[in-house]
């Protein structure tokens, strides 16, 4: 009975969202007064998060599986909860209720709110499905579903820009999944277990034939790029900046946390739990993916500096930061996985805090461009205080959380470089270059985040115009403050989390 509980956090929100949609369809928009809708959605979200919390504490790592149904032959769709999944699920479970709270205030005066919230809710369930997926096929199923439930959210404003953005998003996502599919087929065919289950260390049996090994490595690269589309890997990143046409709660949660982190998560599963690092370490595949991640880091950071629209700037920042995670993953060692996971968690908080701040400013004052923000910090002090913390952390400046994860990634890079050097591989310099790239990006981050802050704290010509703009109300402010608090907490007290991550990394790497 308790095993069935594994399926609840994924299915409950999906069902809830579907029911909401159906009721909306038959009774029209009048069925839900906004407050009732808000309470209902927040209630479901909170209950779901609590269930996830309980499951993590009691079920993680027990190896229990819950099979939903058989898709075809040996391919089962099933849930199971291990260390990696609990980290991701825990992260989502913490963030979602706060994000929903924020969205209520934000979407108060928009249209078709019921539709919006039903898809928002469904996305929660689907993302949990990805976290709980016990094998690659289940991951793929929920991965595709994620595209399907998030694109109506991007489409929501129904403006020309939104339509175009949702189209682009859809094409890229499906394209990525198509290439990832090739990877799944190969895993299925060459695995030692005969299915696509996630086992630390991978399940691939490369065989003795070097040509076959080369083919497998090539397919890994394809699948990396395929899953990497959702993680905004260069050159498949084009959808992310355009997706900022969606409302801020969507951009923030989905495209800075849920969707893009799902992509990174899928890459981690692919690398450490399907293909396995023993097969991949030191091969040309590792060089290619590491190089791609590095290129993305540079590209994202540089473009962010040049971008003047605030949300788009943050989107490019996401592209860059996501590839920090991918860079850590590409080190193919326990240290690398730990580093990637730490950045996954920390960046989620930093980026969602930044986006929510930007959203608060947009909501209160309508300003969207960086040069319009002069003196705003004096009108919205709490908001900008949170933004300051998030910015410092993003730039990797201690003592906030961002420094810890950058440190970890750099250390894993140096470690990988040393390992490759000892193994006599020619490309051992690449991880070191990776560390340099990381520092370059940190500098660029400082540039593009701090210029915003300095503008905000220095009013134009000493006057502060438009006194009617203030901090938003508690529904938007509380999540902001909580996120900033978490960033500070993790900065000063990261050791417990790192212990958990170390346990995961040690098994998998």
């Amino acid at each position: 009975m308790s095993r069935m509980l594994l399926a609840v956090p994924a299915l409950l929100p999906i069902l809830g969202g579907v029911v909401l949609l159906i009721m909306n369809h038959f009774k029209g928009n009048a069925v839900f007064r906004y407050r009732r809708l808000a309470l209902l959605v927040e209630g479901i979200t909170l209950v779901n998060s609590l269930v996830i919390g309980w499951l993590i504490v009691h079920k993680a790592g027990t190896g229990e599986q819950m099979v939903l149904f058989k898709l075809y032959g040996d391919l089962r769709v099933m849930f199971s909860l291990d260390g990696l999944g609990s980290v991701f699920a825990g992260l989502i479970a913490f963030l979602w209720p706060l994000a929903v709270l924020y969205s209520f205030e934000y979407m108060r005066n928009e249209e078709r709110q019921t539709v919006f919230f039903s898809y928002y809710l469904m996305t929660y369930g689907v993302t949990v499905g990805i976290a709980f997926a016990g094998n690659l096929v289940t991951l793929y199923l929920f991965y595709e579903l994620l595209t399907l439930v998030t694109f109506p959210l991007v489409l929501h404003p129904m403006t020309k820009a939104a339509v175009r953005a949702s189209r682009k998003y859809l094409y890229y996502a499906i394209g990525g999944a198509a290439f990832a599919f090739i990877g799944i087929i190969f895993v299925l065919n060459f695995s030692t277990t005969g299915n696509t289950q996630f086992i630390p260390g991978g399940i691939m049996d490369a065989g003795a034939d070097p040509a076959q090994r080369r083919t497998l490595l090539f397919v890994y690269v394809l699948a990396f790029f395929g899953f990497g589309v959702k993680a905004a890997l260069f050159p498949c990143h084009g959808w992310l900046p355009d997706a900022t046409a969606a409302p801020t709660p969507v951009t923030a949660l989905l495209h800075a946390v849920a969707v893009v982190k799902s992509g990174a998560f899928a890459v981690m599963r692919l690398t450490y739990y399907s293909f396995g690092t023993a097969l991949l370490r030191g091969s040309f595949a590792q060089y290619i993916v590491m190089g791609a991640a590095m290129a993305t880091v540079v590209y994202g950071s540089t473009m962010a500096v040049r971008e003047v629209h605030w949300k788009r700037r943050l989107a490019y920042s996401t592209i860059s930061n996501l590839s920090y995670i991918l860079l850590g993953t590409a080190m193919m060692s326990p240290l690398g996985l730990i580093a990637a996971l730490s950045h996954m968690v920390f960046h989620a908080f930093m980026k969602i805090c930044s986006f929510f701040c930007a959203g608060a400013v947009m909501h209160q004052s309508g300003k969207t461009y960086v040069h319009e923000l002069d003196g705003m910090a004096f009108k919205m002090p709490v908001t900008f205080a949170c933004l300051t913390i998030a910015s410092i952390s993003l730039a990797g400046i201690p003592p906030f959380a961002g420094f810890i994860s950058k440190w970890n990634i750099a250390q894993s890079a140096f470690d990988c470089g040393r390992f490759l050097n000892q193994a006599g591989k020619g490309g051992y310099w690449l991880p070191y270059a990776g560390a340099c790239v990381l520092l370059y990006s940190a500098l660029m981050t400082a540039v593009y985040m701090f210029t915003v802050l300095v503008r905000a704290y220095v009013p134009k010509q000493g006057t502060i115009t438009g006194a009617e703009v203030t901090d938003p109300n508690w529904m938007m402010l509380v999540p902001l403050v909580i996120f900033a608090g978490v960033i500070i907490c993790f900065g000063f007290h990261p050791v417990p989390l790192m212990k958990v991550l170390r346990a995961i990394g040690g098994k998998a790497g």
């Binding site: 410092i392 730039a395 990797g396 400046i397 201690p398 003592p399 420094f403 810890i404 440190w407 970890n408 750099a410 250390q411 140096f414 470690d415 040393r418 070191y432 560390a435 340099c436 520092l439 940190a442 500098l443 400082a446 540039v447 701090f450 210029t451 300095v454 704290y457 220095v458 009013p459 000493g462 000063f492 007290h493 990261p494 050791v495 790192m498 212990k499 170390r502």
Partner: protein, 497 residues
Amino acid sequence: MDGNVLLLLPILLPIVMGSLVLTAKGFRKNRKLLIAAVSGTLAVGVILTWAALMTGGRLTLWQMTEDITVALAVDGVSRLFAALTSGVWLLVGIYSISYMTHERDEFRFFGFYLIVLGVLTALDFSANLVTFYVCYEMMTLTSLPLVLHEMTKEAVMAGLKYLFYSVAGAFLALFGIFYLYGAAGSLTFTPGGVSMGLSINGHEGLFLGAVCCMLVGFGTKAGMFPLHGWLPTAHPVAPAPASAVLSGLITKSGVLAVIRVAYYIVGPDRLRGTWVQDVWMFLTLLTVFMGSMLAYKEPVLKKRLAYSTVSQVSYILFGLGLFNAAGFVGALSHVVFHSLVKNGLFLAAGAIIFKTGWTRTREMDGLGRVMPVMLGCYTLVSLALIGIPPASGFVSKWYLATGALASGTGVWSWLGPIILLISALLTAGYLLPLAIRGFFPGAGFDEGEIRSRGLGGQEPSWLMTVPMLVLTAGAILFGCFPGQLISMLESIAAAVL
């Protein structure tokens, strides 16, 4: 936390008081309260620092990762820097009580002034490289508002330049820290250097490269070429007291960083005779020369003093790069002397601006008739900086020169003293004219004119003149009676070399 909690107090008190000043509305309304709080904190701060330095010991603050702690400790170098910092901070603080009346938003200035003191003290007390780095970055961020204070477009541009140069330098140094974490046995500051793991054998190139990165990166704060560009822009644009501490003390944090890296982590034995030393010599001497030249040609007084800082701090770095006792003593003594002198110079420049509004030296003829005490102090500290005995600058320059000649670094051994000499001449050239023309303006000078041109043109109040006098006295007396200071420095040198 375990260890000597006293170490935390001189850090925490200013930071807490500074934050209170920034946020509590009471301080904005009531100036008397503000002044009382600030001066009280500074005074108590000196006492607490003294207490911490007397008791010594270590203090572990928190665990950053499983094997890196954030910790504080007291050793010879920290004693020197912390004592200097708290003392000068108090003096400049008293000065600014009067000076800041003609600026606005004083509470913002004082708030950050106090916070930076706390952070600097933490920097001085850092026990390992990571703690140091944390405080270093925090110091950049908290001193930024001081540069930005005027809120003009110029100030913003200068502030951003300061920020980005500092951050770039810090990240450059971070690369070295990353490397050393893996290569070194530990990152705790140990006199003479820590033991290095086997991984650097056969990879000396990478190791030295990492050290060079750290040198250049940390050297940014100290205004060393090639990342010095921010200094002449940022220092002048801040209010005078802020410029004073920026030039006088915050640049020294860059110096402290270099000391810690070279002498307490990597160890002088590993660097002596390598290409890193050559690069070091080259960069510092270039900066010395370049800074002096640019100062000589600069018409705006505060900018001239900023270029002077660029030049003088590289004297210190030069001395450190010699890796022998004389050079080390010369460098550290120059830390003390230059702090005193540069603070004094900036305070004087500030007094001039405060009382007359003039910024260019051309305008300042005949100043001595109006403000004799202040200009007298200016003249005395200038002499100290130039290196004329018995003023203090002579002592440090002597040690630097002897250290250079004895260092066995080939061409630098003799080139160094030559450059130092040229620079001394240039220093005289850019500092003395103001004093001379101030006291002896020559024919065609109209005293009445200067009184009417200025804002009442009198001596500034005691709040401003007393600190100046104290600094001047220090600059001269340390020159006449350097014994105690020198012996303390020699004992530190013996420990690390």
